[in-house]
Subunit: 220 residues, 2 copies
Amino acid sequence: MKIGILGTGMVGNALGTRLVQKGHEVTMGSRTANNEAARKWASSLGERARTATFQDAAAFGELVISCTGGMHSMEALKSVGAEPLRGKILIDVSNPLQQDKDGSIILGFCNTNSLGERIQKAFPETRVVKALNTVNYDIMIEPSRVPGNHSLFICGNDAAAKKRVTQYLSDWFGWKPDNIIDVGDITAARGTEMMMPLWMRLFQGVIGHPHFNWQIVQGQ
Amino acid sequence: MKIGILGTGMVGNALGTRLVQKGHEVTMGSRTANNEAARKWASSLGERARTATFQDAAAFGELVISCTGGMHSMEALKSVGAEPLRGKILIDVSNPLQQDKDGSIILGFCNTNSLGERIQKAFPETRVVKALNTVNYDIMIEPSRVPGNHSLFICGNDAAAKKRVTQYLSDWFGWKPDNIIDVGDITAARGTEMMMPLWMRLFQGVIGHPHFNWQIVQGQ
């Protein structure tokens, strides 16, 4: 499968590497075609890994994964434009995190909006699925790092796209479909993005590392 | 123990009932001393259950539980004033939920503020502990309704107060202390209150009932 990854950070790196290892062709997009982090990533992985601009990476992919810094995702996607994304599934992995005046990590927007919604609204002919944004990048690609069952939340307006993404997450990374919880239309991204402040507290505080996840436990 | 409960809704009812059953003396406070819901609650429970104004209920309690509707908690507490709450532990159980223009449930404020912080700031001589706000009222008082281990998050500025509340939650309701996670100072209430949008989605959507909880699962 041809996959375009937008973003050259740790998330893009981890996802791209695992997808190339799984036999897919991956083009990592950034602001410029010659981004150094992207070239370094591609050179370590052989010919199935390439680099390009955001626009060319999106055009390359049958499926596109948006994992730029969440406060910059809209700008990156605007540089792509509607055409290269038309009709495609776009998996939005990012959270709109930013630093507050006092140094704490907050969301740049939330509650009545979300990054997932903003993308879907700006690209109405793209099938946006929010996923993976509630776990660290190394858990995204290897959920077995956390023992037992634990949950992943996905949402989006297109039921068929969510089904396909659920299957991809299982095939690519080993997420058990039963642990992937469809929380509704793309406005549910408000809820999954708003998990971040507590996630950060657990990471920076009592747990002290990012290798944990939430499990939804149901009673009667 | 003498406990003041502020709020006559389902949460106040459930907590108050269980505490009376456990042998405590509980006064349920509301705007007026003769609130009908409060009187009905008290009359079903015998002499250890009483009703009063917010102020008198707070003055009565060695410990106070704030469980008014979260958008009205500050107003209720302002009617109490600082003196009846001075030096006491106040457990803040509420979330500042309100209905958005489109009917969806949002937080009235979040991200850079929280109800827990607002209360602590307005009552600096009260030991505010945020707890129980991430589960439904019937899970609060009977965590075994959800099988196995599942997590409760508490936060606050006073470590000794958090320890005592952890013990109370265990003694009163059966929460296992190992499942009660101290997520830090009172600003961590931002994170626990911001769990609500996803909680609402799960409740109204894929799960369809409120008898579930989060469990933090850790890897290496």
